[in-house]
């Protein structure tokens, strides 16, 4: 690990673990995720896009932007549909996907997420169908509101899905990841709508994209600072490069949307960059976690550091007797 220092919350100083940690022939301690690529990182992106688009659609309906609302609703149902295909395909036994609905377990983000998505998907579907056909506007309105309430849950729960694991770079990011994920979702939803709708209806999309992209840059900065040495997988290797490209796209898209977002061409380019940045971010985070599971240093060093801190004079080492 690098010989840098990092600050943790509540003012405690984290001394970076030694570069040399012991291991069993350098073999990993925790298992690498069996979740597939592009299915699962793709789902993180599409689920976020869908959820935030539904929230944007409701807002657009309320504020009187019919083209924007219709576009966002169509985006939402398309994205969540593709997500479900990716999720079922990624199961080891796809025919048993309904086994998810046997139980409700608050200790399992996947269980909670399944129920959230199960509530969200029909609402998003009905909202889009009504908007596209013009039929049953009252039911369509109710569905739009239902999708707007559950949508942010779809966008946010996936952070707990990753963090509630023994994967070092995911677990230790559990405070910032939900904010990073919803920001990234807002960036994607706002960006796509900005690219698709005419300028006269694009204001809410631009607002959401700008808020999302700004918040995303802040959340990413906080996450890397908090992680200290565990930030390494987010900054180096393939995951590091993905995160870097994401950041360039976010910053570029943000600037272009802020300065020239009222021009149709600039808006399309900015929006596309923001959508891509969101996808790059999700793949970067996914690969960073995978990298951190592969190298036993990332498992051992933070635990050793915790033991060292805990064994300071006033507390005893509890794990080994």
């Amino acid at each position: 690990m690098t010989a840098t220092r990092a600050r943790r919350g509540r003012g405690e100083q984290v001394v970076v673990p030694p570069a040399e940690v012991r291991s069993y022939y350098g073999l990993p301690i925790v298992k690498e995720t069996v979740w597939g690529v592009p299915d699962v990182p793709g789902y993180l992106f599409l689920g976020g896009l869908a959820g935030a688009s539904s929230a944007l659609a409701a807002s657009a309906d309320l504020a009187g932007y019919p083209v924007l609302a219709r576009t966002a609703k169509t985006t939402a149902v398309t994205a969540i549909g593709l997500s479900l295909v990716a999720l079922v395909k990624d199961l080891g036994r796809p025919k048993r996907f309904l086994n998810m609905l046997r139980v409700f377990k608050p200790t399992s983000p996947m269980s909670v997420g399944t129920w959230i998505v199960s509530a969200y998907t029909p609402a998003a579907g009905v909202a889009a169908a009504s908007a596209l056909t013009g039929l049953q506007p009252a039911i369509g309105r109710a569905a739009t509101i239902a999708a707007a309430i559950t949508g942010p849950g779809v966008a946010a729960y996936t952070a707990a899905l990753l963090s509630d694991t023994a994967v070092p770079a995911w677990h230790e990011a559990h405070r910032e990841l939900p904010y990073l994920f919803v920001s990234s979702a807002a960036t994607a939803a706002g960006g796509l709508a900005l690219a698709l709708v005419p300028p006269r209806e694009a204001a809410p999309a631009r607002n959401l994209a700008l808020t999302g992209a700004g918040a995303e840059l802040i959340a990413k900065g906080l996450l890397l600072r908090r992680l200290g040495p565990l930030a390494e997988p987010y900054q180096h290797g393939r995951s590091g490069r993905l995160m870097e490209v994401a950041e360039i796209l976010t910053a570029g898209g943000l600037t272009a949307a802020a300065l020239g977002g009222r021009n149709r061409l600039v808006a399309a380019a900015a929006g596309t960059a923001l959508v891509a940045s969101s996808a790059f971010t999700r793949f970067g985070i996914f690969f960073a976690g995978r990298e951190s599971a592969r190298d036993p240093r990332y498992t051992v060093a933070p635990q050793r550091e915790r033991l060292r801190r805990d064994s300071q004079p006033d507390s005893q080492d509890q794990s080994l007797s």
Binding site: M100, K105, Y157, T165, A185, R306, S319
Partner: protein, 286 residues
């Protein structure tokens, strides 16, 4: 659909066992249950014969998972996995110039008191047995793979051939009939000891005392303490070096201990997204 009670100990609350630790069977809903059973693996007497690996494979009909040489030691198994439920580690150490020692250790699923794999399983396929052990119900598992990433020890894995998650059952079929698990039965040096967990903990404490008196200062118990990050394990160890030398995490903490905080952040983040979306529509209509 049912709200899970048998499938986990959400956020570690419930009845305590004799040693003051959580009683996992009782907190999973077993009103009347046999004593918690477990393994005490005393690695100081392990001779690396791998009889445990073989006996486990044979009894549980665990398929072959690669016959290759690792080239790193006499360990050609590598690690625990979907088709390796006991794994003997070999560590050759130079202690003094010209002197060396072999550490050998048979690793297994820890059957944690606070079990990450069981907590995160979205189907209820992973369950707590009346013996306080953790098993996968193969006919329920849909192969989502969440347990694989939740285990702090890298024990459970998904099997490519059938798509399901697999791991040690502590020979659920044998212990239900009063038999000893296959690995412990086959162990020629009683390095693997099976029995009621409270008895094993007492025995391990005495063994540790003996070794310390005999001058083996490095001897230590691992995962025997109900106050550790997994609430103490059903399968614990006597090690002669730091856990990481054996490929074990030095201070594992079950990931779900932080889940209440994760949910709070998720809820706040979701609310923030809803608010940001709502506010984005305000302002002058162009």
């Amino acid at each position: 659909m049912s709200v899970s009670t048998h499938h986990g100990a959400p956020f570690a609350s419930g009845p305590a066992d004799a040693a003051g630790g959580l009683d996992p069977a009782a907190s999973s809903g077993y009103a009347d249950h046999p004593p918690r059973m477990g393994f005490f693996t005393d690695t100081s007497v392990c001779i690396g014969c791998k009889a445990c690996e073989v006996a486990c494979k044979e009894w549980n009909a665990v398929p072959e998972d690669g016959i290759e040489l690792t080239g790193m030691s006499y360990d050609n198994t590598g690690s625990l996995g979907a088709s390796t439920w006991r794994h003997v580690a070999f560590i050759e150490q130079i202690t003094l110039p010209g002197e060396s020692r072999w550490l050998m250790s048979s690793d297994v699923c820890k059957h944690c008191t606070e079990s990450g794999c069981l907590d995160v399983c979205p189907t209820g396929a992973l369950m707590r047995t009346e013996f306080g052990t953790v098993v996968v119900q193969d006919d329920v598992c849909n192969g989502c793979g969440y347990c694989v990433s939740a285990c702090p020890f890298g024990v459970i894995d998904r099997r490519e051939t059938d798509g399901g998650a697999h791991k040690c059952t502590l020979c659920y079929d044998r212990i239900g009939d009063g038999l000893t698990p296959a690995c412990a039965k086959a162990c020629p040096t009683e390095s693997i000891q099976f029995g009621p967990l409270d008895e094993l903990r007492e025995r391990a404490a005495l063994r540790l005392e003996d070794l310390h008196e005999a001058g083996v200062a490095d001897a230590r118990l691992y995962l025997n303490d109900p106050n550790d990050g997994v609430g103490g394990a059903g399968a614990f160890f006597l090690l002669l070096d730091e856990p990481e030398a054996y490929g074990l995490p030095p201070d594992p903490i079950v990931t779900t201990r932080d889940l209440p905080r994760m949910w709070r952040h998720v809820a706040t983040a979701a609310a923030a997204l809803a608010a940001a979306a709502f506010l984005s529509g305000l302002g002058r209509h162009s």
